[in-house]
């Protein structure tokens, strides 16, 4: 964190920008054609065409180790923090401050085409995905550069506004300041209600920070306010970041490459388990109906004349999109599908176990997509621990990442629902089966 390191780094980046003949010296990563990126020193072979490919007698690749590894990484990473116990109380209504380090280190080109571009692309995807999975949550973007921190978008639920604000921000100037940005985050998060989760996600690109006073005071107040700070480093791990993350129950991650950056961000879309004894509360929410009138009237949010809109049930003001907070009476306006969107975080489907069908000596068929093990010897198959139906690798990924429904369990649910009411393993489905559903199913 000394000035010396910073100067050396500046020189290095400067040189790399101008000395193109030698090739930039700081590029650490290679970009394989098949899309698997690694650090250069991790790559096994320089000349892959000289290496024999493992083949069996049919000329097919016998090992599916690689596929298995990818699958485990993708699925277990999401599940891993929680282990087997699925009944974890989560902060469903999230308030997230996204802090972006827009210092001049972003001009570094070790991520292609540059760190800045990669950051923009991935954060945009993240914001969209975040609101897709947590529609009733709120987000705010804080940027830090020139040793200052600035809030460029207030806590709100509109993804487009955040993305626009992020794109408009001028980047690549000066140094970041961890303390200033955390203080800004603190100032907006300490007023949100206690029942929601308060999170800070810091995307850090520099190796230095420029702080006005001791960070330990800030860490203490973060801890008091139950704010969880997580770091994603684009460069290298810093002790202070790791320390902050540890103290506040957050995570600290260093990215390997672009793909890994994306994965690490997407993991943050899942609501985290609550810290300590947080309060629960009944939150007042309005469920407005859409009305379409023949005469246009102005909406409160954009002050434009619109034909259709949602009328706040408490104060009667028209807003043009959901979910939002009524600007007059501050009632949160949602519709029932928005609540339903978050339910899959509460009722997760278990991880599937791999089926060794070669040893069982029989052919298996995926019940989701009908692909059979007869056709290719490479395919991996998995079985759901609850319903014991067989799924192929692609269905397994699809079910866990996009669908959040196990077709086999859905089939059997109907029969078990009546008999296993007190069964522990089925407790989740019963809650989902009888209570929540009755409420929202019929309007």
């Amino acid at each position: 964190m000394s000035k010396g390191i910073n100067n050396a780094q500046n020189k290095r980046t400067n040189r790399s920008l101008y000395d193109n003949e030698d090739g930039p010296a700081h590029i650490l990563q290679t970009n394989d054609e098949d899309g698997t990126n690694k650090y250069k020193w991790e790559n096994k072979f320089e000349k892959t065409w000289l290496v024999d490919i493992d083949e069996d007698e049919h000329g097919l690749k016998p090992s599916n180790q690689e596929e298995r590894k990818t699958r485990n990484r993708r699925l277990k990473a999401a599940d891993g923090q929680l282990g087997q116990d699925q009944r974890v109380r989560r902060g469903m209504q999230r308030h997230l401050c996204l802090i972006l380090d827009l210092s001049k280190t972003l001009s570094n080109q070790d991520l292609k085409p540059s760190r800045y571009q990669v950051l923009l692309q991935n954060v945009e995807l993240f914001i969209k995905e975040f609101f897709d999975q947590n529609p009733i949550s709120q987000l705010s973007i804080i940027i830090t550069k020139n040793s200052k921190a600035e809030r460029i978008s207030e806590l709100s639920g509109n993804p487009l506004r955040h993305i626009q604000a992020m794109k408009d921000a001028i980047a690549m100037e000066g140094e970041p300041s961890i303390q200033n940005s955390l203080e800004v985050a603190l100032s907006s998060l300490c007023y949100v209600p206690k029942y929601g989760s308060r999170e800070v996600l810091f995307i850090f690109s520099s190796l230095t920070t420029c702080d006005p006073s001791s960070l330990h005071k800030t860490i203490q107040s973060l801890k008091n306010e139950l704010i969880r700070v997580s770091f994603i480093h684009m460069a290298a791990e810093l002790y202070i970041c790791k320390y902050i993350a540890e103290q506040t129950n957050g995570t600290s991650k260093v990215i390997l490459n672009e793909e890994h950056f994306n994965e690490s961000l997407m993991l943050k879309c899942q609501p985290p388990p609550t810290i300590g004894k947080t309060e629960a509360a009944l939150v007042e929410m309005g469920f407005p109906q859409q009305i379409t009138s023949t005469v246009p009237s102005p909406c409160i949010c954009h002050e434009k004349m619109k034909y259709s809109g949602y009328i706040c049930p408490r104060c009667g003001v028209k807003s043009c999109e959901l979910p939002t907070d009524c600007q007059i009476c501050n009632l949160s306006l949602v519709s029932s599908p928005h609540l339903a969107r978050s339910y899959h975080h509460l009722f997760q489907i278990p991880l599937f176990n791999e089926v060794n069908w070669k040893e069982l000596n029989k052919n298996v068929t995926c019940i989701g997509c009908l692909s059979s093990s007869e056709k290719s010897i490479l395919s991996l198959f998995f079985s759901c621990p609850r319903c014991e139906e067989i799924f192929c690798l692609d269905c397994d990924l699809f079910i866990h990442e996009s669908l959040h429904n196990c077709p086999g369990c859905e089939n059997k649910l109907q029969n078990t629902n009546n008999t296993n009411n007190n069964n522990n393993s089925n407790g989740k489905t019963n809650i989902n089966g009888n209570e929540i559903t009755n409420g929202n199913g019929f309007h």
């Binding site: 109380r89 801890k223 004894k277 009944l282 029932s336 609540l339 997509c369 192929c392 009546n418 309007h443």
Partner: protein
């Protein structure tokens, strides 16, 4: 929707994948047949009620009255199949690369009808066919059976369905719509991987009422298809509207249709559901006026404008209470900005909700 860009790219390629979900709920169709029978017999005499004891007893008078007024408006399963096969044929003729999947949701179980479940089954049937032909050749030369065509396969399977009632499931009367929807999405996911340019859509024929216990899984399916921009079209063959399908069609910008005169069902199907998503833009289609997304509370099932949502499990209540009846969480009634500086200074372990045991579902 933001699939404009991709649509322009694939303008030339208009092959589509249609996954049909047929509601083959025996009870619903049985009730339908019964009311039809009653309507016919009701003209002559009223003493024909003993034929269908397996069906659910509904107020016969109401049923008859409804059936009498709408005698020609509703059709039975056999008639429906005829109309459906016309539609399937037309769809397959529209483009030779069009692909089809048919899933039927029976009571408590869903299964594929059209792409055969396993290769083995397919082979078995082929063998049976061969055997039949040989026998026939020994006796009298007969023309090859209709089983060879796709249509034959589908019809064969669908007609067998009527017999597949298991006695163990007699207390469950609901169709497994969420399972068939999940299977359809998995299947589409696979076909899309094999031919990325294909345009998938889902068509649901529905006759049985919504099952509220499937709400979450159905909503998950809807969100998944919305994300992949797969339209979910729905054709309602019963008198009641289906809230699930209304939401599905509305959220995925599909078509929701409730045919008034089902005698003319094939015409409805051909004009409404035949064309792919690209051509639909230039045609006028029936639109849903409004879908009611208001929630109803869990405690009294009242529709609420302003509700109170549990911050832990997101269940909705119409008034304040001291604890959540779904997850059992105790609420702190003082919602103020009380400082908690004395409590929770050390890092605390992740709290697990130990509350689910208190749930009693009756």
């Amino acid at each position: 929707m933001n699939n404009e860009a991709s649509a322009v790219l694939n303008e030339d390629d208009d092959t589509s994948l249609l996954v049909v979900i047929l509601d083959c709920n025996v009870y619903s169709w049985g009730n339908r047949e019964k009311s039809l029978q009653d309507a016919i017999s009701g003209m002559n005499d009223d003493n024909n009620d003993d034929r269908y004891n397996g069906g659910i007893a509904i107020g016969n008078n109401i049923n008859k009255r409804l059936a009498n007024t709408s005698k020609t408006n509703y059709i039975g399963f056999n008639k429906f199949l005829e109309h459906f096969m016309v539609f399937v044929n037309a769809y397959l003729m529209l483009n030779q690369e069009n692909q089809l999947g048919i899933i039927c949701s029976k009571i408590g179980e869903s299964s594929f009808v059209f792409p055969q479940t396993t290769v083995e089954q397919y082979q078995q049937e082929q063998e049976q066919l061969l055997q039949q032909q040989q026998l026939n050749e020994n006796g009298e030369p007969l023309p090859p059976t209709a089983n060879k065509t796709i249509q034959g396969q589908i019809l064969d399977k669908l007609q067998k369905l009527d017999l597949e009632i298991k006695h163990e499931q007699s207390d469950v009367l609901s169709s497994s719509f969420s399972a068939s929807m999940s299977m359809a999405l998995c299947y589409i996911n696979r076909i899309k991987r094999e031919t990325p340019t294909i345009k998938p859509r889902i068509l649901v024929f529905n006759i049985s009422p919504d099952v509220s216990s499937q709400y979450i899984s159905v909503m998950n399916c809807i969100f998944s298809s919305q994300k992949q921009s797969i339209p979910v079209d729905s054709c309602i063959l019963s008198q009641l509207d289906s809230t699930f399908l209304q939401q599905a069609s509305h959220l995925t910008s599909g078509i929701y249709l409730k045919p008034q005169k089902q005698e003319l069902l094939s015409q409805y199907l051909l004009t409404t559901f035949l064309l792919d998503t690209l051509s639909r833009k230039s045609l006028a289609y029936p639109t849903l006026k409004s879908v009611d997304y208001r929630a109803s509370c869990f405690c009294h099932k009242k529709i609420v404008d302003i509700g109170y949502v549990c911050s832990v499990c997101l269940s909705i209540f119409c008034g304040h209470s001291s604890s959540c009846s779904t997850c059992g969480t105790k609420f702190s009634l003082k919602i103020d900005l009380r400082k908690q500086s004395n409590i929770n200074t050390n890092s605390t372990p992740l709290s697990t909700a130990t509350t689910t045991s208190t749930v009693n579902n009756k």
